[in-house]
């Protein structure tokens, strides 16, 4: 299949530092190439891929210091629109800008929605272009959306089985990994560790916008023999950090559409103790790859039971559900369903009519 993958231009594919969407686009693109498809990746020029790269800006816009990203995306989309006949399928990883220009190509266009969908700001486009085929990254992510949009599938993210290697032994500490921000609830992680009397290691970056929250709400909690704040870690260190843990704490307080760190932990064999929120109950198999909890009390109890879980079964569950190979196969099945006409986007007159 001749497939165009359209990445956000904020970061390179894969990203130099952070960028969950660009990491997923990279894994998907490499897998589709490996599975024999002819893939063209529209992305920033500092991207690395085995697909055919069409560089749309010299480098990822954020690290290039470009603050308004709209112009660069519009130009990329215009380029793709002019080349649309060269592709059997065009797969967008952008939220918004593609709908007007590609509305008459709904029969061969797919958009994966990577963000939360509960803000009203974006809803006007979903009402105006309800025929554009969409992929959600969890069932929970769909809840706030208008009723008449065209869902093609829910496809959970997946990652290469070697990126966070299986660690048969695990370790003795609880792990917290992510940004320090109120909705990630690092304060809950600290309270759970102290009450469970188990060490907690926190690998977390503090963005400028969260600096005040960190100083006022979190730093005062760190001065405790069980709590170790190790700051930011890179992709290389992540596998060790997660693999050497007893469990990952994921005590979120927001509708996270898909938390990649959960499947990264599972990939190393480390189970996940996650709050019942957002995608967590869909990703964690309660009692097998971790525990879904509703309160600090339940989380503390889960820490007590987590050694009863088999790390091998956690890894096994990861291999069954969350590899990039499975993700790519799901996408190809969705592409084929769309192209076969099994999902019929409501036909629209061309914009030029």
């Amino acid at each position: 299949m001749r497939i165009a993958q359209v990445a956000p231009l904020a970061e390179a594919v894969p990203p130099k530092l952070y960028g969950g969407t660009e990491r997923v686009v990279s894994w998907l693109t490499e897998e589709l190439v490996a599975q024999g498809h002819e893939v063209t990746l529209f992305a920033s020029g500092d991207s690395q891929t085995s697909a055919t790269l069409v560089p749309c800006v010299p480098q990822g816009l954020r690290l290039a210091g470009i603050r308004d990203h709209i112009a660069s995306h519009l130009v990329m989309l215009n380029t793709i629109r002019r080349r649309a006949a060269q592709f059997d399928l065009i797969h967008f990883h952008l939220d918004l800008l593609q709908y007007p220009l590609f509305q008459d190509l709904a029969h061969k266009c797919v958009t994966t929605l990577h963000g939360r969908l509960d803000f009203p700001d974006f809803h006007p486009v979903y009402y105006a272009f309800p025929h554009m085929p969409l992929v959600s990254i969890s069932e929970d992510q769909r809840r706030p959306m208008p009723p008449h949009v065209t869902w093609l599938a829910t496809i959970y993210h997946g990652l290469p089985p070697s990126s966070c290697p299986y660690n048969v032994a695990g370790g003795d500490y609880l792990a917290f990994l992510g940004r320090i921000s109120p909705e990630k609830r690092p304060d809950r992680a600290i309270e759970i560790a102290k009450r469970a009397q188990v060490p907690l290691k926190m690998a977390a970056k503090v963005d400028k916008v969260d600096q005040e929250y960190f100083e006022e709400a979190i730093r005062p909690l760190l001065d405790h023999p069980l709590i170790e704040f190790i700051g930011e870690i890179d992709e290389q260190q992540k596998g060790d950090f997660l693999g050497n843990a007893l469990a990952l704490l994921f005590p979120i307080d927001w509708p996270e559409p898909f938390g990649l760190v959960m499947i990264e932990a599972m990939s190393t064999g480390t189970p996940v103790i996650a709050w019942r929120h957002g995608s967590a109950p869909e990703v964690v198999d309660d009692g097998t790859s971790g525990f879904i909890v509703n309160s600090i009390d339940e989380a503390v109890a889960a820490v007590g039971r987590v050694r009863d879980l088999s790390r091998e079964r956690v890894r096994h569950r990861f291999e069954g559900r969350f590899t990039s190979t499975r993700m790519a196969a799901d996408y190809v099945a969705a592409y084929e369903r769309l192209l076969s006409g099994a999902v019929r986007p409501k036909p629209r007159t061309s914009v030029a009519a």
Copy 2:
């Protein structure tokens, strides 16, 4: 002529509070209707106009608490694109989003650029769509733009002659009107007033983002018998505030593409003492409607000479150059030049080709 005016959706037309672009769109729209054109205004539903209003969102997005405005604008543009055949001319007051969707209608589309153009972020669209006809609001505004874009005209803003009424007598104080922000240089205004030994009244709002600058750099300068800080004023008070002044100080430190407050002062007969920056030398006729200065020394000297200027001649210059009637006539001439084929946008294949 059947004309579509396309306003930003951030504020109503005219705006309830602030919104320079929406004020200009309102003045232009009302004048075009008065001159006998059939005008359709695409704007927020709380707009007030004698044109045919097509409400594209219920109310201006900023006061509605919508932070991301892209989706609403995309839907508006899609509506206009579907109705494009109903208009002889479509006039956009948006920076970016219209180019891909209207590229094959360049022969009947005009965009007025209302903002500064020296940030690189927007330039990709001007390189990608160089055939789209543009109007600048000052000559100076054009300087940072790529060389091959299609300039149709420079058209200075204009306002209704009655909105800031002529005040034959004027007054004894210097006026500063605008936001408190570093590039507006309220500190210079204060220094000029103190050195010239003339009272200064400052009517200025302090945005949240400028609060720290205000507290640290400006508030300590306010405790002086000559300086009076009166805070925010509304449109009604503006005429009196400017009309009762000896001169308006406009000591800007940034390339302001067009400073409406300069022509509002001139409308009341009050001359303008402005820094040689941005559009100021094009708007102020040095020695007639005010003085263009390069330094605090020159500004202090200008305050000494400003009583020699005739307020009647200042008003006369306003009436000759900066009324909304003149602005609308200039736009109609530009529309007609475009429609006659005198300006030939480089033809482009339709995006759907």
